[in-house]
Structures are given as structure tokens and as C-alpha cells.
Symmetry: C2
Subunit: 598 residues, 2 copies
């Protein structure tokens, strides 16, 4: 079976493109070293291979289902969670005082990447738990952290995020789950939550739901929403789970992919009182959630990258082995058929996948490194870093979600009929990844976020920071060999983006918000491709520097990077222009369309 991840590329991204090896110079990471990080990544690979990849297809074919009122999962999930816990990954980025390793976020993302690639369905249980704990760490009281967070860090309990309701998914402002104050300061929570991943299972002795709800009498809209800690089982004074908290499984959702993760409809306060504790101040629920949104969205983008990456590697292995047809120049029927990797169009499909998934990986790790810079980097420049991260986040989330899906389609295409069957993994990755453009904010939401908020906030400073960094990398690349196509194409794309924005942004008031945002998707496409082009410039630059001293497979690796950069320049970046022109024209086709005309 093909590997699910390229160790060599991960090393390259972390230590040759990014300066992860320098992080131990920061006080928080003083006890680390490049070797420590490499050891941890090796453990991640081993655990992911042995305990996650082993049952990915089995979990896909045997969805969570009810047996005797309990959710039944394939046994591999429990074993995987135990191995993940034993490796210390639930708490690896937390303080040593909490049992963590104080791993930088970029290394933590690289660790998680292994599990996303090996088995995204099973990994879901762990990642939701990690996200839940991160949010508690930020906003919950010390008592709450002791009670609800520590068991998560120890992998003894799992966590969820319970935001959506049947009538309110993208529009969270309209949730109706209510929290009624009780005399002891806790709340009685009542309502129905939809799409709750890992909402019910028997993997752990308790489940901690983070629930958005509206305190009785709170104002309409987002300012009336608060956040609550709601355990499946109430917690006894000794910290052990006690009686039922009346969170009732009302149904399981059956999805196209991500089938290994239980997805639930939950009723809170059914057949008894559901008691919850408020996190922080009332009315801050959505703001607290959004505080974690950059990291959550980077996580979705990285998940998309890794599914695409696993598909790329599977189709690459297949293309090297499968023999079929002959080159156009050599139709001698007596000759042996060639491995299909020899065909130009198969090579195009493989190069495109490589360009997408390695470009996406570069961006996901770059953004993760920005999270570290925000938390542990030099004080100076943190404001710029924050604005850049804000600007990049919708791209990190949406670009790989969309383009990994295209890459996975290319992987299926390389493998033909075989790729379309359940005997090979790519059709599963294709089904799994189709969720990524939807959850944690749809593409429509990302486009509006980018154009309506991130490109204009702080007087457009985020874009200036981005352009400054691209400019610096372009300058640093001067004189390097083999970068002509990517440099030229990137400069052109940057010019088209800037031109479009300089035309559109001054018209914002005149157009009004609806018209201004009408083509926000083109902003996402235009800047997404340009930013990935920048990531390819950075990878190509690192490769051009390393190539003269490299030999053998190492030299091949760098040549492949340079060539994928050329591919992105010649085959992908020219798409920016059409989006830039549409955006600049403030085209009204979609807003002029009338409902009755459909």
C-alpha cells in the first residue's frame, strides 16, 4: 500500500522552507530541538500507520450504528484512541504543568497531519477533544478546567462542539437552544443540536459538550448567545462521571464520507434536566468560538490537504506500476505497454495533484507558524502577524478544501476504473474531503469574510503585510536558477489582484454591501491561487538553494519541487486573471437574477 504521507516533504516544509528548527530559541520551546521534533513526527507516523490507517476502510464500510441503544463503532477506533493517548498527543502542545510537551503549533499541526491522512474519520474524535480543550484553556475558569479540561488532556473523556441546530447551521445567530439559570449558578439547557460530530459513543467514560445557547431573555442575534459546558454524565464531587445529564441521542446522520465519525442529532433536556455551566461572561459565546476559529479553520484546511496528499501518493504509486497503452510516437503493437506515468496527460494529472497538495501543505504550515509567532514570537510585529493570519485564514480553509477535491478527482482519473472502486482508497478520500468546503464555514462564508472583513480591516493593513512578504520573497529569489516561470507568473498574478482590489475597494460604499460582496468568491479564488503561487516560490527558492549540494534522490526531490513550481506557474496561475477581471467589473449577474427566472 502507498504511504499516506511524505516524510521527506514534511521535513522539507518544516526545516527548509520554514525555520522550525529555530523555534527552540524561544523560551517556551527551550527544551526542544530539531531532533526532538523529528522523533515526535516519527512516533506520529508509526502510530498513524499502525493504529489509524489499519481500519480506515473498515470504519468507512461499517458506519457507527445503534446496538441496544448504544453507538457501536468498529473496534479499531478504541485501539487508535488508546495509542493516540499513550503517545501523549491529546496534550502535546499544552504547558508542561498540564502534562504537555509545549509543542509549537506548527509541529502539533504536522503531528495531526499524519492522522488526517491515515484515517480522518477516527482522527475526528481526537481533534474535537483537542479543540474543546483549547477553548476551555482560553476561556473556562480554573475550576472548570480542573473538572472538564484535564480529563480531555488525559484522553479519558472526549469533547464536542455543539453549535448548529436543525434550522440554524451557517446562520448561528438564529439558534434557539435555551439556558435557564438555576439557583446554584448553573443553567438548565434545553434544545436540539444538529450535525454534532462525536456527539455520542462509548469510547470514553464521559463526553463534554461545548454548547451554544441563549440565556432566557437574552437579546436576539449573536449578542444573546452564550457558551456552556455540558457533560453527558454529571460530574460527581470526586471528579468521576455520575448520573445521566439527559443529553439524548435523537438520531445518527448518514453522510457521503467521514463515515467513521459518529454524527448526531442531540436533544438537551429530554426526559430530565440537562445541567450546564456557563463559560466566561453571558453573551460572549460566539465571540469565544470565533476566537478559536483561525485554528479550527487551519485544521480543516490541513485536513483537506492531507486527504489530497494521501490520494496523490496512492495514484502516483498506481501510475508507476500500471501498464497501459503506448506513447503517441510509438504505436508498435508488439512493444510492451508503458507504465501510465509515461503518458503526458497522466503526468499532468500527477503534477497538478503535486502542485495542489504540496502547495496546500506549505500554506497550512505557514499559517500554523504564524499562530506560533503570535503566541511566542517577538512582541514587535505581532499586530501585523495577527492581521496577516486573519487574512490568510479564509484561504487556508477554503483553497485546499476546494482544490484537494480537484486533486482527488485527478487521482481517481489516473487510476481509472480501479480508482472508482472501493478496492482502492481514493474514492473514500474523495467522499471524505467533500465535507471540507462545508463545515467550519462554507465557501460562501469564507468569501464574505475575506472580502467583507479581512481585506478591509485596519485600513487594509493585512493585505499590505501580505504583499510586503511576497515582495521580499520575490526579491530574495533574484538570481536563483530555475525560478523564471514562477517569479514571472507570480508577479503577474499579484499585479492582477492588486489591480482588481484597487478598482473595487474604493467603490464599496457606492455599491452597498450586497453588490460589493456579490463576487466575493472570485476574491477567494484570485487570492487563493496567488498565495499558493507564493508558497511555490518559497519552496522553489529553498530547492534552488539546496540543489547544487544535493545528490541522488535528494537532487530529484528538489528538481521535482522546482518543476511543480513551474507547473503551478504555467497551468494554474493564469486562472487568476479571469477572477480578477470579474471582481474589478463589480459584475451584477448574480444579483440581477430573479428567483422566478430559475
Amino acid at each position: 500500500m502507498a504511504p499516506f504521507l511524505s516524510k521527506r516533504d514534511l521535513q522539507f516544509q518544516l526545516f527548509e522552507v520554514l525555520d522550525t528548527a529555530a523555534l527552540p530559541q524561544r523560551p517556551r520551546f527551550a527544551e526542544h530541538s530539531r531532533e526532538v521534533y523529528e522523533d515526535i513526527l516519527n512516533v506520529a507516523y508509526a502510530v498513524a500507520e499502525r493504529h489509524f490507517a489499519n481500519h480506515a476502510r473498515e470504519a468507512d464500510l461499517n458506519e457507527p450504528h445503534l446496538e441496544g441503544g448504544k453507538v457501536n463503532l468498529v473496534p479499531g477506533v478504541q485501539a487508535a484512541m488508546n495509542a493516540f493517548r499513550d503517545a501523549g498527543f491529546f496534550s502535546a502542545h499544552h504547558d508542561e504543568a498540564l502534562g504537555g510537551l509545549q509543542l509549537p503549533w506548527v509541529v502539533m499541526q504536522a503531528v495531526q497531519a499524519h492522522f488526517q491522512a491515515a484515517n480522518v474519520g477516527t482522527a475526528g474524535y481526537a481533534f474535537l477533544t483537542i479543540g474543546n480543550a483549547n477553548l476551555q484553556r482560553q476561556f473556562a475558569s480554573p475550576e472548570q478546567q480542573e473538572k472538564y479540561m484535564k480529563p480531555l488532556l488525559e484522553g479519558r473523556w472526549f469533547g464536542t462542539m455543539a453549535l448548529s441546530e436543525p434550522h440554524a447551521g451557517s446562520g448561528l445567530a438564529d439558534i434557539t437552544t435555551t439556558a435557564t439559570p438555576r439557583e446554584d449558578g448553573t443553567y438548565s439547557v434545553s434544545g436540539t443540536k444538529m450535525w454534532i460530530s462525536a456527539g455520542e459513543h462509548e469510547l470514553t467514560e464521559n463526553i463534554v459538550h461545548l454548547v451554544l445557547a441563549r440565556i432566557k431573555g437574552a437579546p436576539a442575534g449573536v449578542r444573546g448567545i452564550s457558551l456552556f459546558l455540558v457533560p453527558r454524565y454529571r460530574v460527581n464531587p470526586d471528579g468521576k462521571p455520575g448520573e445521566s445529564n439527559h443529553v439524548v441521542l435523537a438520531g445518527l446522520n448518514h453522510k457521503m464520507g467521514y463515515r467513521g465519525t459518529t454524527n448526531t442529532l442531540l436533544n438537551f433536556g429530554e426526559g430530565g434536566e440537562t445541567i450546564g455551566e456557563i463559560v466566561g461572561e453571558p453573551g460572549r459565546g460566539l465571540a469565544q468560538m470565533f476566537h478559536m476559529m483561525n485554528e479550527a479553520r487551519i485544521g480543516v484546511g490541513m485536513g483537506a490537504v492531507m486527504l489530497g496528499y494521501a490520494g496523490y501518493l496512492a495514484s502516483l504509486e498506481y501510475a508507476r506500476e500500471r501498464r497501459q497503452g503506448r506513447p503517441a510516437s510509438s504505436k508498435d503493437p508488439q512493444s510492451a505497454p508503458v507504465p501510465i506515468i509515461a503518458h503526458a496527460d497522466v503526468r499532468r494529472l500527477l503534477l497538478r495533484q503535486k502542485a495542489i497538495v504540496e502547495g496546500g501543505l506549505s500554506l497550512g504550515l505557514y499559517a500554523s507558524a504564524l499562530v506560533d509567532d503570535l503566541q511566542t514570537g517577538p512582541e514587535e510585529g505581532r499586530e501585523d502577524t495577527a492581521l496577516l493570519l486573519d487574512l490568510l485564514t479564509p484561504l487556508v480553509k477554503s483553497w485546499p478544501s476546494k482544490y484537494s477535491q480537484e486533486a482527488l478527482s485527478d487521482a481517481i482519473q489516473v487510476m481509472g476504473g480501479a480508482g472508482y472502486t472501493r478496492d482502492t482508497p481514493v474514492e473514500m478520500y474523495y467522499r471524505d474531503n467533500r465535507l471540507n468546503p462545508i463545515h467550519e464555514g462554507t465557501e460562501g462564508i469564507q468569501g464574505n469574510d475575506l472580502l467583507g472583513r479581512k481585506l478591509t480591516q485596519a485600513g487594509g493593513r493585512g493585505l499590505q503585510v501580505l504583499l510586503g512578504r511576497i515582495e521580499a520573497d520575490l526579491k530574495a529569489a533574484e538570481g536563483l536558477t530555475g525560478l523564471d516561470e514562477i517569479r514571472t507568473a507570480l508577479q503577474k498574478a499579484v499585479g492582477q489582484c492588486v489591480g482588481a482590489l484597487q478598482t473595487l475597494l474604493p467603490k464599496a460604499a457606492e455599491l452597498g454591501p450586497d453588490l460589493f460582496l456579490a463576487n466575493a468568491n472570485s476574491a477567494l479564488e484570485m487570492l487563493g491561487h496567488t498565495v499558493i503561487g507564493w508558497m511555490w516560490l518559497r519552496q522553489a527558492s529553498a530547492s534552488a538553494r539546496a540543489l547544487p549540494g544535493a545528490r541522488g534522490s535528494d537532487a530529484d526531490f528538489y528538481r521535482g519541487k522546482l518543476h511543480a513550481a513551474r507547473f503551478f506557474a504555467t497551468h494554474e496561475l493564469p486562472r487568476v486573471r479571469a477572477h480578477a477581471e470579474l471582481l474589478a467589473s463589480a459584475d451584477r449577474t448574480t444579483t440581477d437574477m430573479q428567483e422566478a427566472w430559475f
Copy 2:
């Protein structure tokens, strides 16, 4: 539940864009009329709705499986086949003498469209039978037709196409199934065939396989391949199925979609002799297959269109009903959420689907009408018609296969989490349609066919015919209201295509076949979008002419057509340029890539 097909649009395409109502002027169709065609389409809708749509999801969830050595299907399949047979659809386009209605091919395609939209998996059994009979009608002897074709026309037996082998799918030149002459003039057939749809089932008393095989001692390559009629059960002198012909089911394939159609691995000559009859002359097998290829590929394209269409209609209904969020200009949390069709980005996703599926339908029916013109149109011009049909075929096959998939992704996106579940049909359509870019010739094969053969054969006459027809339609559209965007954008796209081809084609010899074809995919993309733009010009022209006299929902229909044409002009046709430029540059990125660099 949403309708699976728009009757109004089908009427528009057949009778307002195409001149299907004039076909009865041709002798073969003299007994027809527009009313006859409309009645038949109404029957098709009723049968498709009652007997096909009813079990589409059930068949998806309960794949064909073995029970006691026999293939078990959900019961709806048998009922659907009976209804299809009783409606006379197996033979509807055949001569009256054969029990047919002599339906024109364009009407037959419109009939089939209903079943492709309602339940593509069940429809597969019927369509393979129809294709098999068409091939026999063309090439089999009168005795063979009496023996093997008539039971297919009557729906008593079903047919398959057994081409691929485990080691030879796209590369049919390398098949190894052998046919050894027997003393009585028949052949003993031995070998293994892969991906055989409807290869085994108990729906009918016999199955007729059309098998490609190599007569012992035949030359290597395509010229050594012959075509054989191989029944599942040998046929007794009285025409009834007799003893086993030793075609053994060796396995069922499990696919991502198209789950309702049994897909098989078949061993011929296992445990006994498999006897077949040769069709026509030895060595003509692949040529005979390819003679039917235009029609088969139009069928695949139309199937893709209809899956996309069904998804569009489902997401449109959802978008009208689902309320979520508020326009950017009106964030009052007290106001009711709006139907999501009010959001610009949802409207973009719906308009894009409309532009893709209605454009694709237009092209599929246009090409089908060309098939009729070839067979029953004026003698004069048939050569040009044949060249145009040849040129369009790779586009008719590949464009909807690719872009319906994007449309279906847009449908899922509109429906969000609901679209990702198996409670709604779009995720199934998305899985089903992903096969279409693979079977009946992959996209890579279509690209090479277009650039390497269809654009150059007969001195490029096919392209000249195409350009002439586009030019004529552009001229006829002069003075019509509401067509500015589509006319301008189409003219520009045509200019870009012509420019690219004028640059590339003269260099063919200098580049050599491998380099010349290296960017064939861009030829497919560039001409595909341009031809669909032409189809939108034709639809917009018909609508502009009809609009002044139209009222109410009819006027809305024409305004929607004009607006979708504008959308295709502003949002899709600008993509042509990047492909044209890449093609003209004879870019070597894919051919320069070395295998070791991946």
C-alpha cells in the same frame, strides 16, 4: 421531492432551439408529429417517475450481491425493466418492421434522458441492451439478428459490451481473450473480461455479450481484434435459451456510485466451452465498436447532463425553502431569516448549475440531431455533418462529464450539511456521475481524439464547419435584445480558439506527436467552453425571439435563459483564454517532468 427533469426545458430544447417538429417532413418520420413526440415524452416521464425514481436510493443502498450463487437485485429493478419494455422503449427507434416506432435519435435521447435522471443505475440495464442491439443491427447477419437481436428489442433478453480486461481498459489493443475456430464456423472463446456492466443478473432468461477477442494467430494490436456474440445460455434451435455457455461470474466490483448496475468480472470458457459467433469479418472488432462510438459517447454525455440536471433541481427546491441568514445589507437579528436563494453566492451556485446543465443538454441534443441528419437528413452536406459530429463527440462526452460533476458539487454546496447526507439525493448523483469522465474513453483519450484526430482530419474541415455554424448563429442574433454579453464573449472565445489552433497546428510535424498532444486537455477545455457558449447563444436567441410574446411563467422562463447565457458569458467563457494561451505556447512542462522527480 423535486422533479428530476424540467419538462419545459426539454420542450424548449427540442421544439424552440432545435427544429424537431420539422422531422416528420422526412419520409422515415412521416407518421410522426410534434404531438406524437410530446406524448412519448410524457409516457417516459410517467414511467421514469413511477418505476425508476421510486427505487433509486434503495438500489444505491443495497448493491447487487450474491445469494446462493445468483446476483440479487432490489425488486424495483425488475419492475422498472418490465415497465420500460411495456412502453416499447427497447425498440422505439427501430424500424416498424422490427416492432419499433422509427423514433428519431434526438427524441430517443430525450426519452432516455428521463431514465438517466430518475435512476441511472437501473437504466444501465436497458441502455446496454439498446446499444448492443444497435451494434447488431449494423453489423450482424440477418440470422444473427433474428437469433440474438430480436429478443433484445422485445426486452426479453439483455445485452452487454464486454471489451475491457483486467490488464487492458483504455488500452484495448492489448486484450488477450482468444477465439479458437470450431469446425461448424463458430468460435470457442476463452479469457477474462473486467468492468462488465450488467454482466450477470436474473432479470432476463438470457444475456447476450458482445465480446472483443483475438482469433488464434491474429496479428498483434487492434487489427487482430474481432467481435463475437456470446450468449450466457446457448440458444436452442427453437430460439429458447438452453444449456450453460460457461460464462462464469468471477467477482462483483464495488464502486463509489452507479451501484444499482451489477458490475462484473467474467471468465469465458471456465469449466466448459464458451461458444461465440463472429460478427462480420475477422479483425474488424474495434472498428465496429468505434462505429457506434459517437452514439455511445453522446449517451455518456447525456447521462452526465441528466445527473447534473437532477441535482440542480433538487438544490433549487432546497434553496427556495431553506431559510438561513440575512443579506449583508440587512443584519437586523429580529428579522426573519431569508430563503437562501436570496444570497448572492447561493444564486451564483444555482446559476452556474443552470448554465452547465442546460448548456450541456443543449449540446447533447444538438449532437443527437446531427445523428438524425446523418441518417435521414438531406444527402447534401452529410459529409460536413459527419465531420462536425466527429469533432463535437469528444466534447459532448467529456464536457458534461466534468462540468456536471462541478455542478453537482455546487448542488451539495447549496444544500450544505443536508446535501452531504444520504437523506437527499445529490450526494448519490455526485458519486454516480464521477464514473462518466472514465468510461467510454477517459478525458485523456477524448483530448487526444479531439486534437490528434478530429481537428486535423479532412484538412481541418470539421472545425471550419463548426466555425461556420457559430458565425451563422452570431449573425442571426444581430439585433436581438439581451444578448450583448453572450455575443461579445463568444466572439472573443472563438477568436482565442482559432488563434491558438492557428499557432499550434502548423507546428505539429516539428513538435512530433508527443509534444503536439501534450496539452490536449486544454484543447478540450477551450473548445468545450466555447461550444457550450455557442449553445447558450442559440438558447438566448430563441428566448429573445419568444420573450415579446410571452406572459407570466413563460416570460420568466425566457428571462432565465437570457440570464443564464449572460452568466456563462461573464463567469465561464473568460476561462477559455488561459487554456488557449497554454495550448498556443506548446508548453513542455508535463513532458519535461521526469518520473524520478515525483
